[in-house]
Amino acid sequence: MNSIILSLIVLGCIGLISALILYYVLAKFKVDENPYIDEVEALLPGANCGGCGFAGCRNFAEKCVSSESMDSLFCPVGKDETMQSIAQLLGKSAPTEEPKIAVVRCQGSCDVRPRTNIYDGVTSCKIANTLYIGESGCPNGCLGYGDCEFSCPFDSIHIDIKTNLPVVDEDLCTACGKCVVACPRDIIQIRRKGPKNRRIYVSCINQEKGGIARKSCEVACIGCSKCLKECAFEAITITNNLAYIDDSKCRLCKKCVDVCPTKAIITANFPIKQVKQEDENV
């Protein structure tokens, strides 16, 4: 009988002491966390993609709550909608930012960019790029092994089997920028989605001289500066034999598209010319 009471007392004491220690530790090391952080995190998409430049959504929420202005903070996945609701919750103002999208700056499909050799190594752009120039003669062209496809957390970029080039799904792409990091050749760029999703860009990053670039790919930018002369808004610059269209200056007049001799400048989501209507009229 005695032993039962003794063990009860001993266990009771141990329990009591442990409870006191736990209580003390809790009081001493209590972390005061802003309750807003949880609320902001709930508003965020929760993709943890890192597109905002922070380690994850919680990290971004902490920054939103702690920083005074939200000027440099933007969640590319949740876009403006999310940012405005976060700003409302915190009583701050968030700048509006235009929606963006990833664009692939290479059109070198098999029929316009002749393949000069066969690669039989690992299907990884990163490995192939460290080994050699690739299956075609273009040192900047898309290798087509799909590192961007594997990196995308939203399943929005896929390699087209026919052209062997990546295609971005406009509805799913959040412009998080993971594919930009994954591409060893910097082919993918994040650009403004543009009004009515319309945009014009140079779909080539080959910096070779015109002749050499043309030899390796029919649709390469040859740096002829025809587009530069045509552009009325000074949106086009040419550096190292390569034209670049500044998306903040471009007014989508499409003049450069028509003069480009290699069709390296491409448009997206413009209505197809009235050829169809004429047909109907006839």
């Binding site: 190594g121 990163k126 460290t130 080994l131 050699y132 120039i133 003669g137």
Partner: protein, 443 residues
Amino acid sequence: MKTFKIGGIHPQENKLSTSMRIENVPIPEQVIIPLDQHIGAPSTPFVEVGDKVKVGQLIGKATGFMSANTHSSVSGTVSRIDTYIDSFGYKKPAIYINVEGDEWLEGIDTSNKLLYNCTLSSKEIIQKINDAGIVGLGGACFPTHIKLCPPSNCKIDTLIINAVECEPYLTHNHQLMIEKGEEIIVGVNILMKALEVEKAIIGIEENKANAIEYLKKITLSNKNIEVVTLKTKYPQGGEKQLIQACTNREVKSGALPASVGVVVQNVATVYAVYEAVQLNKPLIEVFVTISGPELLHPGNFKMRIGTLLSDALKMAGGMPENTKKIIGGGPMMGRAFLTTDIPATKRSSGLLLLPEKQAKRLEPSTCIRCGKCVYACPMGLEPFLLGRLSELQIWDKLEESHVTDCIECGSCMFTCPSHRPILDYVRMGKSEVMSIIISRATK
């Protein structure tokens, strides 16, 4: 018989060009001399377009600590300082020289006389090697003068000469030892003097019996130089493997060979050192094996740097019709080339033309965890794990698993029954981890 302890494989030797005399490839009309023939920063051009140069004249000066000089291998006029397309299709800086005659720079001894005596001091020898632009001709192209100045806390007591040539097909080092054995021994003496050591070991694999016999014969009187016969096993030519095979010392993970008191030099480098110190001749010629199962006349060639490899290939019987893959270097560690129309550089050691049967990579299947790669790895790593980790891009685990110790010998891939491209992944992971370590150190 001595050999290294862990791992290793026995690929077919296929030394088709054994005992073929070294042939001189004729000087072409124009040479392309790349400026990045070594590890580290490319050398900066020291001549201008239109300048007349002589054989052996300095045309590219070393930039910074980790770099080497580049010399003209011909006499003529500099026609262009531009880029050339290297064997992998990328652009690299180079100097183009139009050849006019064959006029050598004054002071270079072009007579074939053997010069035994070297009265220079250690410092003078190293300076001469530095001036001559000598790099390790075993493949890594590490500037030799840096190797000869080990960290001050390491006491060097042994010089090891790497005459293993463990790669299949390659034979030019073997032939060099037979034809230029005496010069090599003088070179060994010079290097011993430069390092101030009393002992040198020449490690040769048993499949080069006549070279072992010959070198033993000419070193009979010299008790400081020992010729060691090693059991044939790949990758015995790896620095750490060779040190273990010859001296039974183990270089710790991440440490330099100098930490166990050893400096290793390739036998072709030793010959270049002899030429530089005794004849004042900079490194302007390389020895190349051209081989392949279908090639008409596989052979060993001496080429001026900047001569196209296709010129030497013509002498070897031209490209066989059914060639599917061109490999620069040996079949184990070499890399596929896009074309043979590229200049020979200090990196060139072999040109291998493989027909479809040998060139074909078999379809990889899943890893069956047989552990063959672990058994074969000469560095005691776990290649299957390293391959998987870099495939999944888990860099921190990869670093913990000592991926930086990998010598990229390819034994794991050779032995894999599932034909998995282990080395491709490990090499990518290794370079990624290296860059992470460097960026961490610079922070």
